[in-house]
Symmetry: C3
Subunit: 343 residues, 3 copies
């Protein structure tokens, strides 16, 4: 619980209304009750303010809502996220290495860390302060995990991989599995040893059941602040820039280099050995088969400007009809040609 | 082993032939041997009856097969499934909490449940009667699992999530991982805490390595009887109706609401914040980018009626040729126009 | 460390230059330093040889590089892989069943095997010589694992499934989960018991978070030497041939039969109950909806020859423009027709 003025201070906003109000919870605008704070970041929902039962609302400057207690700030969505964290996320209590965890003698686990039952930590592993390893986390030999990380249940980090600070792995993430590399040997395939590693820089988050493969040689790197959703594939030797967003079931093939601030939609894909610039948005199920220059919004396979793709796909259902019309036109053309020849 | 008449009774069918025959096993029609029962649900396989070595065959009414022992019933495929269950699925023996499982003191596990080694159950967890947790299942704090559930190895249910009765999780399913929500903060992304839960209602089944994310606020819900295949993504705040079928590698983005009796093919996708009605079939790799009304069979991206999509995609390979023809037609048009002007 | 001549002998190649040179490491051509060996398999990189700092280079016959120590052999890429294995992959030390593993009494684990903490092995399991089970591997009852296999952390093999020799499972692979089979029962679905198994033949490798479902009846089989990448779905009763390559996020639906030496690109898919011949390449995101004959390179949905697909997709962005032009042509045609009628 907090006073409305405390929350305003937390997010650098101003209170309009009762600054001493007690706020207990954050709720969506259509479910909020007395004691709740809610937010409006999209102007089209401002009409819901009058019927809203929340005790207070976070809004952008310029909103007129007489009789409603407001926190006015520049980024209501961000403010909502910060207040939600403050009010509803319990502080983690660090419990040390719990019974039922298996930790190699040479592993170093900070005292202010938590290792749940069922975790297995190999030789020379290091785990930083404030980090939590939920049940069933497996760290192979020589893995290092920084401070204030959260590794959820069943996530696996294979040998030698390095995680920075504040990294979050959702359950069942696999970091450092072998890259998919084989040398054809006549009929069969010879496995190319994958002796590189994976580096996840600070503030990276990876979703459930996603995979980041270790490099063949050298490293696969996911740079600071990048967020990866569930069931995403990052292949060996990929270099993925800072503050990127990869939506669920997307994938990046081997050795591709992605710039900063890129966003790839669900089921999108980047072929191997490509270079993608900064600030590239690729729509859901888009597929890059060539290098992509910076500052573009693209969709489709092959990629094209998003607006062009919208038009192209709107035309797609009309293709059979177009084909039919073309055949009719050809007939008419022929008739005209015959007619003219005759004259 | 059972008498043929017992099996007929089980499925509400009638015996034609030797009702006292002993049946040991269920087998496909082309592999069945003496002692086996098989089935024909598709009339095009009726021709195989004469060569079939099975001791008995489950068929629909109206099948004429002199000399073959039959169970005649309205739904041979369903009858096959029921008889298979009866003859070949061993009853589960409940063994209690086995050595090597880690159960918090406040957790309540019914006596008629099984918890295998390597399971970890957090505070205030409840596990119902007849439920089996295979090795490595992790239930975070405050999870409730109903009666007669099967949670296969390595499946994870995060804090506060609720599973009804007869829920089946295949191995490595993740329930309740954080939804993918971030508030842009200038250059970087601020994590929006995901403080909601997941509810899986009765008779839901979820396939290997599939994920159902917890809600940001409120709940993600999968309703009674819905079956989800492997590697499927259900994002935060989705509301997925009753008796739906989601085939492998499909995905539903955040906050979408799906009706009852929908079927989504492999790799199909539903964008975020959409409403899909009841009885909607979306073909493999179809993609919904707008709301979808009830009672439709659709395919493609964008979605279109399935038959139209079939025609459109059949035309696709002819596009380059069409373009070439169009250019030729344009030339011919110009020639005609010139000719006519001259006249 | 090895002498250059030793390495040449290992790969059946010839040394040009200093055969007694000491080689410590394998490195990519642009990062190699003194003491390293590197390779050139693609002639377009031969220009980098002059600036390369490696002590030696593996090349194909006919390369002219004065002053550079060379191993000359027919398949430099394969030679690189073999030398990398020799120089950099440490031999596995077998440690037996370690404390913290749970092994049923009736399970038979070869003395020359390793079972890490957190593994759980059911009744009648057998594990062969030279096999390593990393932490958290779960083998259900009656599973057999051959010799020299590597099962990485959290991989699961369900009841009765059989793995040959030298099988590799990357972390969190699921073998033998229930196939996705349900019989409609009016409104709801009745689960068809999946009582078959999975067989992985010798030298199969399966990537992280991939799934191979058990058969309804009979078996799902992945044949010798086939390599499967991460997040791939193999449905029940699939028969997947020898020496196939399935790239990440691809999938094969139920009961399809795939020949030998097939390669399926990322996110490609094969519908159910199809037959695909030998030596079929399907490009990334290609989708087979009909049987496919041997010896073809195909792409798209529906599948078409790869080159045709390239042309068709290059035309796609021009569709709206084509439609517009067609309407203009129709107008012009009408005008001509009117004109001619008048004359």
């Amino acid at each position: 619980m907090a006073k409305l003025k405390q929350l305003a201070e937390l997010v650098g906003g101003d209170v309009i209304g009762d600054a001493d109000l007690d706020i207990c919870r954050v709720a969506p605008i259509d479910q909020a009750q007395s004691g709740d704070i809610t937010f409006v970041s999209n102007p089209k929902y401002l009409g819901m303010l009058s019927a809203c039962k929340a005790s207070a609302v976070i809004v952008a400057p310029g909103v007129d809502a007489p009789g409603v207690n407001l926190i006015v700030c520049n980024n209501p969505y961000l403010a909502f996220a910060r207040i939600l964290t403050f009010l509803q996320v319990p502080e983690r209590v660090m419990r040390g290495v719990m019974a039922g965890a298996s930790v190699a003698e040479s592993a170093v686990v900070d005292k202010a860390a938590t290792v749940y039952p069922g975790c297995v930590l190999g030789e020379n592993v290091s785990v930083g302060s404030g980090t939590t390893l939920y049940p069933g986390v497996v760290l192979y030999d020589d893995v290092s995990v920084g401070n204030d990380c959260i590794l959820h249940a069943q996530s696996v980090v294979r040998e030698g991989c390095q995680l920075g600070d504040r990294v979050i792995l959702q359950p069942a993430v696999v970091i450092g599995s072998d890259g998919f590399g084989f040398a054809p040997d006549g009929q069969s395939y010879y496995k190319i040893p994958q002796v590189g590693i994976v580096v996840l820089e600070d503030d990276v988050e990876i979703g459930s059941n996603s995979c980041v493969d270790r490099a063949a040689l050298g490293e696969t790197r996911v740079r600071r602040g990048t967020k990866i959703d569930n069931l995403v594939q990052i292949a060996h030797n990929v270099d993925l820039g800072e503050d990127c967003i990869l939506v669920s079931q997307s994938g990046i093939a081997g050795s591709s280099k992605i710039g900063n601030h890129c966003t790839f939609g669900g089921q999108a894909a980047i072929a191997g050995h490509l270079t993608v610039g900064d600030n590239v948005m690729i729509g859901a199920r888009g597929g890059a088969t060539n290098d992509v220059e910076s500052n573009q919004i693209l969709s489709g396979l092959p990629l094209m400007p998003h607006k062009q793709w919208l038009r192209a796909t709107m035309t797609l259902p009309k293709l059979p009809e177009m084909r039919k019309e073309m055949k009719q036109m050809q007939k008419r053309l022929e008739e005209l040609e015959t007619l003219l020849k005759e004259k």
